[in-house]
Subunit: 559 residues, 2 copies
């Protein structure tokens, strides 16, 4: 392949590497597009060769080559490069800039290049759909690490936060798809087995409970490789309880699934995937934490009466065949029942809802979610802080205590003499020093038993709570549409029959919201109780271990 490309943005190659700097507007001759990880190799006008991010350039047609001087140039950071990349979806690697980023920061680790790898190459090109503008801008190469998502992110989840909301999913598409349902123009026949029921129990309106509950385990990930080992990646082994057949899924598959779920269920918060962890250690412990967070995602999915039954999830959990995978994938991407249109699958009680009652509940939910959002974030941050404290100053303080006592023991041993009580004391003091050094190690170890799992759990809640404002806004949009229709009918611009259909369908949407609000309440009540119990038990075990350590040390003095 020898084609020419034009640089869209400036790119500064890392000195001392095979990277090459390119300037926006510059024409380059392609040498190799088979580098992988979003990199291409090219030659500039001076004859220099090197690598640059594929997403930073666009291929030129022979016609264009004649007037390259008029081709537009861009200042890289200000331009949503992602959209540009999306246009070239079919023939170039997606999010190459992102890949480049990872390549330069953690090249040695096959994990990272996989973490946000959205090339989808081995399962065929992704559909070029109209929702591509929902994507967040991805970090550009050369962006400082701290500007990118990181765990400490204290920014708001609401609206345009780059930290946790992966995209503004209701921007234009939901309104459109919602309207067709709401106005009754969408009339799809939903097969009975796909129908979802909302029923009333003592807690209010709820999703009809799961008839066949199941669980899925996410096993410790394995490093797999392809292209004869050139590219390695982490794959998770998922085993559903209903068939006990293991499937292997990479992060990108989770990511693809997550997008489908977010498109489809705009009244149901989708549990979050693990945060991108760009800085930090890429060790076993970090990989394990990602697994735990994926397990949290999977658990929430399994326990959800609607999500657990949906087709794309089932496909994700069960498909082991590459061809069937692709087919299912295409089908999911063409799903007509996205966003509010999904509500056509719902079967709700006959009773019409009182708008004031619905308003009251959504109002309370809004207040609750706003307060919860703050709390949940502060718990997440607190867990991160405590982990750092335990592994940093607490550990070091203990070790300093240990070292001071140990060196005291050493000093005393210089003048021990032959008196037994003296040498006994010396060794007891040394052992006390050793005990504190050991307690320091225990502090280092401890967070993985208490603070980290607690943080992982609240990562989940942070994602769910952070999605609620969108859910509420989506519902509110439907209610506003309904009011508009009421006005139109009052002005005789809409027929009463059609209004009644709108009213009925708005009620379906409200029923869905109420069911989800109640689901979240019931779910968190059980879940948080277990979470807090587990956390406290681990804390108790920890302090008991310190007591035991000190008690056995104390005995050294008694003998």
């Amino acid at each position: 392949m020898t084609a020419q490309v034009q640089a869209l943005y400036d790119f500064t190659g890392d000195p001392g590497t095979t990277e090459m700097s390119i300037a926006s507007g510059e024409i380059l001759t392609l040498i190799n597009t088979d580098i992988g990880e979003g990199w291409w190799e090219g030659r500039n006008a001076k004859g220099e060769t090197g690598l640059f991010p594929a997403a930073y350039v666009r291929k030129l047609t022979p016609e264009e080559l004649e007037h390259t001087s008029t081709a537009p140039t861009h200042a890289a950071p200000a331009v949503p490069r992602y959209d540009q990349a999306a246009d070239d979806w079919g023939d170039q690697q997606y999010s190459a800039g992102d890949n480049n980023y990872h390549r330069t920061t953690s090249q040695e680790d096959g994990w990272e290049d996989d973490w946000d790898d959205e090339t989808y190459s081995e399962i065929g090109p992704a559909q070029h759909k109209s929702h591509h503008n929902q994507h967040q801008p991805m970090p550009l190469p050369g962006m400082p690490i701290n500007d990118v998502n990181h765990l400490d992110d204290g920014s708001s989840n609401y609206g345009s936060s780059a930290g946790t909301v992966r995209r503004n999913k209701f921007a234009p598409s939901s309104k459109v798809t919602g309207e067709s349902y709401l106005l009754g123009t969408l009339n799809v026949e939903v097969p009975d087995h796909d129908k979802i029921y909302i029923v009333q129990n003592e807690e209010g309106y709820v999703w009809s409970p799961l008839t066949h509950p199941y669980s899925v385990t996410v096993a410790s990930p394995k490093k797999e490789s392809k292209f004869k080992g050139i590219k390695s990646y982490i794959a998770y082994q998922l085993t559903p309880s209903f068939n006990n057949i293991q499937v292997s899924r990479r992060y990108k598959h989770f990511d693809w699934l997550h997008e489908r779920l977010q498109e489809k269920f705009t009244l149901i918060p989708i549990p979050p995937l693990p945060d991108k962890q760009i800085s930090g250690r890429y060790d076993e412990q970090l990989i394990e934490r990602r697994r735990v967070q994926l397990q949290e995602f999977v658990d929430w999915m399994c326990r959800h009466p609607v999500l657990s039954k949906c087709e794309v999830w089932q496909h994700f959990l069960t498909c082991t065949d590459e061809k069937r995978w692709k087919a299912g994938k295409r089908q999911a991407e063409r799903d007509p029942l996205l966003s509010l249109n999904y509500c056509i699958s719902l079967v709700v009680p006959e009773k019409a809802l009182l708008q004031t009652q619905v308003d009251g509940i959504t109002e309370q939910c809004h207040t609750f979610v706003a307060s919860m959002d703050t709390s949940v974030k502060s718990v997440v941050n607190m867990c991160i802080t405590q982990t750092k404290r335990f592994q940093g100053p607490y550990k070091m303080d203990c070790q300093k205590v240990g070292e001071a006592l140990y060196s005291l023991g050493n000093a005393l041993s210089l003048d021990e003499g032959t008196v037994v009580s003296t040498s006994k004391l010396t060794s007891a003091i040394k052992m006390t020093g050793g005990a504190y050094i050991e307690i320091g190690r225990m502090y280092d170890e401890q967070p993985k038993y208490d603070w980290e799992p607690l943080g992982d759990k609240f990562h989940l809640y942070k994602g769910i709570v952070g999605s609620f404002p969108d859910v509420l806004a989506n519902h509110k949009g439907a209610v506003q549409k309904k009011r508009e229709c009421e006005r139109l009918t009052a002005e005789h611009k809409m027929e009463v029959a059609q209004l009644n259909e709108v009213l009925r369908r708005t009620d379906v949407i409200s029923y869905a919201l109420l069911a989800e609000v109640n689901h979240f309440k019931a779910e968190r009540t059980t879940d948080l109780k277990a979470t807090m119990q587990k956390f406290l038990r681990q804390q108790i075990t920890f302090y008991k271990k310190i007591v035991e350590k000190l008690e056995s040390t104390l005995q050294q003095y008694d003998e």
Copy 2:
């Protein structure tokens, strides 16, 4: 009294107070010398009146008044004001600059002006002795607080360290007094009841054990006052077990005692008094810690076979009468048996000591003491650090955890509904938050049970270990003198009989050192064991309390 004084140094009065700035050389008319705390009131040439430190001026004789222009002036901080003040001992308050310092930093607290108050005024003027040059320079007004002794002081105890050694006690006097004993020119008849025996037991040569052991309690200090309440100070109540009669002693009495002990016992490390604590809080807790450190001093004194019996200590412990106090005080200050001369009181085994053996022991002691000095200081610093950690970050971290959980409970209570399990969870989470806030309080409280007592104990050891190099040097001086005499005898410049007396007396000095080395070893073996046990028990209690707190919190979730 209307006299005129000349300012010796510049003094800048604190603006907005009754203080007045004076310039070196300036002539002032005295208005009032009865202000107290080292302050005089005067009027300057401009007619302004105000207070200035008495030590900053000198009284002028009528003759002098005629040629004031030729009187010398000084730059205050560079001049050893202390010596100057000492010359005026009889008619002006001592260390007025020091008093001034405290006055401006902690005027509200009667304690501090007493802490280093060396006026000795109410027990008559101190003797103008030749050892006044042994005093450390006192801080001058305006010196930064941090330049003065502080607890964190990491400087060496050896030699000229200002941090812990109160004076260089062996500078000129000990050599002189030592020589008269060593050369046999000192021949005092020591009454039998004042004789101190050194005996041999399985641990080596030791001080003959105490036949009548006793203890002394230092009770919580009281704030007392004199001059109709103008001057208030802290007095400690000491109660010896042998007579159960309480005596009241101020810090300055302890300080005076300490000087006498250091003069007299140059082969015995004198336990340290509490460090000056110039910066920091003057609250109950600090006063209590000083009491604890004085108790440590007193305990060590009581347990020492030589110190516990000495006259000045007995006088200090028992004298309740002002006249007898002054008489005993004068007698102690005229004690002829200071430094090595004290050794004339000692009765040692007949056996001559092998110099090589003595050298071996002193060598080992030297190595031990050097290593111990480092360790003991690091334990002291560690205790201070741990106290700060417990009361600062540890407490705050716990409280942040508590607050995060409590606010989570609050958020959840906004969407509690009527479901019992939900409201139960909410209150359990709030209680968990409360428990961590309480644990934070426990961290704040804890150091007074473990780190501070441990630190107080090691303050004692720091002082004793820090005195050992002087003790060893003093012994070494005697050994060198002995060698000199051996050489003189070899050169026929000294008679054999006199040399034999020198050898015998050098042996007495060596016996004293060996006894003291063994006393320290035995003492610390018992004492450190008890100290470590007490410390560990307190630590265990603390962590058990955390466990209990968390366990009762956990139960909230179970019900």
